[in-house]
Subunit: 252 residues, 2 copies
């Protein structure tokens, strides 16, 4: 049996507002969950400031290492929106006005005060780029090669993911099942390690918590193969019960 | 006048649970806000999987580039907790059992089932490391040189930050003030750019939103100098009002 091909992606979050702590990021989890469904694994995330050098470095490090590179943030109309220019610099491309983006913006702003120089900024793309549709506002996302530039505002970003759903080649979706136990993870750490070793193609993550005055942990088993996943969950549950523990199917 | 020295930090979030989308990160914002108060700027964040090569690469890229490097995650007792080993590999150090960490864990677990091999894992540190106190659980954080390894669970991580408060050299805290306006940012983007240019040592970030059927934006001005910050906010408010806009002091 040949190993199924694994498709990977990286994400660059461009935004001083995340690095300053002003804004709580909500894009990483949203993109990660969406990628899982597309059969693509998120392997690395970088958060960088609104500075061209930092963006260029991250883009050039990550675009060749993964099948896909996503960015969020910095594609709006203001002076701190420099993603398009930084991307063009990283790729050695010119920045051009995309006619369809310009038309979409003109249409959107016709009833909203008309176009101006700042709004036209949102039609600028690296040459050769395609657009990613966005029904929420006039400003599209941008695709150039294996790179996808999306909005930083989570609900607009979600629209762009929606437009990309099913468009990207990927492998088998990563599946996961969780069992929970009111036990300190340090008491059953050997069981977790042994179970993981016994089931190739599975990973077990252990996520401890403290709640209602007691410690517990959730154990997340991940695999792309549903039968392997099932066997691993059954085995893990059996071993925990053999220790006299109560095991909840699903997260506690 | 000499420029005040700027202290910078990077953060590595170690955790498959963030990359899989299972867990919504809450550490970036928490650490960023804490660093601001210490007079240290968070300049880069990387999220990497629980894989030694990925951790080593990120550590070695970031530890020399910034005054401080923080990590979260992977210091517990289970098989997927590999931060200490990866860090030791990155730094070319041996892993040793820290006597004070061992004593603290023995004390903590005396009434909780006693020590075992897995629990002893949490006393392992790169040689020469110091501990970061943690009153929540027996397991300490670890400091080695300019690197701080902390827990991934947010409330335990917060305890470790608390133990480090005031311990790190830093510069002037980064201050920020926000004004809000019910206006599309694309309508006043030129004002933002001009105001930023007119006040050296200030940055203006623009954060648009859509709420109650209307668009608006918050403008966050950041500076380490309170008088520069004040002048910039006054100027920005004046320019927005001159456009006929209502300006709210503080975030809307």
């Amino acid at each position: 049996m040949t190993e199924p091909r694994i498709w990977t992606a990286a994400l660059i979050i461009i935004g001083d507002e995340i690095l300053s702590g002003r804004t709580q990021d909500r894009n990483i989890a949203q993109i990660a969950l969406w990628l899982n469904v597309q059969g693509i694994r998120l392997k690395e995330v970088r958060v960088v400031p609104d500075e061209q050098d930092a963006i260029v470095e991250a883009v050039n490090a990550l675009r060749v290492r993964h099948n896909y590179l996503f960015t969020t943030g910095g594609i709006g109309p203001t002076h701190d929106d420099i993603t398009v220019d930084a991307m063009a610099a990283a790729l050695g491309l010119q920045v051009v006005v995309h006619p369809r983006a310009k038309a979409a913006l003109e249409h959107y702003y016709a009833s909203r005060g008309g176009m101006n120089e700042q709004r036209l900024r949102m039609a600028r793309v690296p040459e050769g780029a395609d657009l990613i549709e966005n029904r929420q506002s006039g400003a599209p996302g941008i695709r150039v090669g294996n790179i996808f530039m999306m909005a930083g505002v989570p609900h607009i970003m979600a629209e762009m993911l929606d437009a990309l759903t099913g468009e990207l080649d990927g492998g088998r979706p990563l599946l996961s099942e969780t069992v929970g136990c009111w036990v300190p993870e340090s008491e059953i750490a050997d069981i977790l390690a042994e179970t993981e070793r016994a089931h190739e193609g599975c990973q077990i993550g252990s996520y401890p918590f403290f709640r209602e005055g007691r410690v517990g942990a959730n154990f997340v088993v991940r695999s792309t193969d549903p039968s392997v996943l099932n066997a691993c969950i059954t085995d893990l549950t059996g071993r925990l019960k053999a220790k006299g523990l109560e095991v909840a199917m699903g997260e506690i």
